[in-house]
């Protein structure tokens, strides 16, 4: 063979391999960041009530909920953030006095 064929294969498979590995690394890093910001790591499927406040929840009246599937949602930010599947919380946290609408 000549060097061109080997160079072609090397460039193609090297680039695709690098892109694939980088993509997996970015996905893993993003998942870790999202996990950290939602506080999913501090909640468990068996937790009950609004007491399980997420690590990233710093404001008043915000709590993380984890359903049985492991997905997380937060309450306290208005109607769009209500969990869809049977929230574990039994009561809605009251809005803070100075809360934005």
């Amino acid at each position: 063979m000549n060097g061109y064929v080997e160079a072609g294969y090397l460039v193609i498979f090297g680039s695709l391999g690098t892109y694939g590995v980088a993509l997996l690394g970015r996905e893993r890093a993003a998942r870790r960041r999202v996990l950290g910001s939602t506080g999913a790591g501090s909640t468990s499927a068996g937790s009950t009530g609004a007491g399980s406040t997420g690590a990233g929840s710093t404001g008043a009246g915000t709590a993380s909920f984890t359903d049985s599937g492991g997905s997380t949602a937060q309450a306290g930010d208005g109607p769009t953030t209500k969990p869809q599947h049977a929230p574990l919380a039994t009561e809605e946290p009251e809005p803070a006095p100075g809360a934005m609408s």
């Binding site: 000549n2 061109y4 064929v5 072609g8 294969y9 193609i12 680039s15 993003a30 008043a60 100075g98």
Partner: protein
């Protein structure tokens, strides 16, 4: 590509319900990745060590097993991006998933187009005596690469989610116009590049046979599987980035609320 800074993005319960610890279809995606990897390795092995050299091109023909499959995948990726963009623009099917899919597919398509250009250049040097010639096929392919780079840049322009997604979708459809031009350029104009080996649009014949044909077919299938795997992961990354943007917005809102409490 990332959706970029999102200023007034609607917070959907669907986005919030992303299963973080183990995303759905992880097992299927892993199997797809394994199949793609096995196929690509088999293609490389057959292409480099098993198939015979060509009567005219000699060993250079071995680039045939990777160069056309990558060009095919680039076309497929841009086709999927255009279809997803079209579905996003149609009000009945407008969801953020199609916007994400278009972005993910286009990014993978850009990678494959870039590699098509590079591998073609490596093939062209010993065949034509030049790394690059301003041939219609090469020029329109380079234009395709630039057009979709522009599309990816357009996706990163900050702004309202709806506006950004709509203009990106229109951009993807405009860029796709170049795809048939690339494919038929060897037929429409006098080109240094040879006409398609598989399913020649003029003669409707295939000019590869035997083990070479099977290896080429395996290359097409393997790279298509690889495209699907890469696009699925790019889609998941985009989804996580969107969620991250939403969380950032929520955090900022919570901080403002806390400031309001303190006063």
């Amino acid at each position: 590509m990332s959706a970029g800074p999102v200023s007034s993005r609607p917070v959907s319960a669907q986005t919030r319900a992303l299963p973080l610890p183990r995303p759905p279809l992880s097992g299927a995606l892993g199997a797809l990745g394994f199949l793609a990897l096995a196929g690509v390795v088999a293609t490389a092995w057959l292409g480099l060590f098993v198939t015979p050299p060509d009567e005219f091109m000699g060993n250079l023909v071995r680039l045939l097993y990777v160069h056309p499959p990558m060009a095919w995948v680039a076309f497929l990726a841009f086709g999927v991006a255009s279809l997803a963009s079209l579905l996003y623009l149609w009000p009945r099917t407008r969801t953020e998933h199609f916007d994400r899919l278009a972005g993910a597919s286009a990014e993978v398509g850009v990678v494959f187009t870039g590699l098509t250009l590079v591998s073609g250049s490596i093939w062209g040097r010993p065949t034509w005596g030049a790394w690059w010639v301003w041939d219609p096929l090469l020029t329109t392919t380079a234009l395709l690469f630039v057009l979709y780079l522009g599309y990816l840049a357009l996706r990163r322009v900050p702004g309202d989610f709806e506006v950004r997604a709509r203009r990106s979708a229109i951009g993807a459809l405009i860029a796709f116009v170049d795809v048939p031009i690339v494919y038929f350029s060897v037929v429409w104009w006098r080109s240094l590049h040879q006409a398609p080996t598989v399913l020649n649009p003029t003669t409707r014949k295939t000019y590869v046979h035997g083990s070479m044909a099977w290896t080429l077919l395996l290359g097409f299938v393997s790279f298509t599987l690889l495209y699907a795997w890469l696009t699925a992961h790019r889609y998941r990354l985009a989804k996580l980035q969107d969620l991250e943007d939403t969380e950032g917005l929520d955090l900022a809102l919570r901080e403002r609320r806390a400031e309001g409490d303190a006063r």
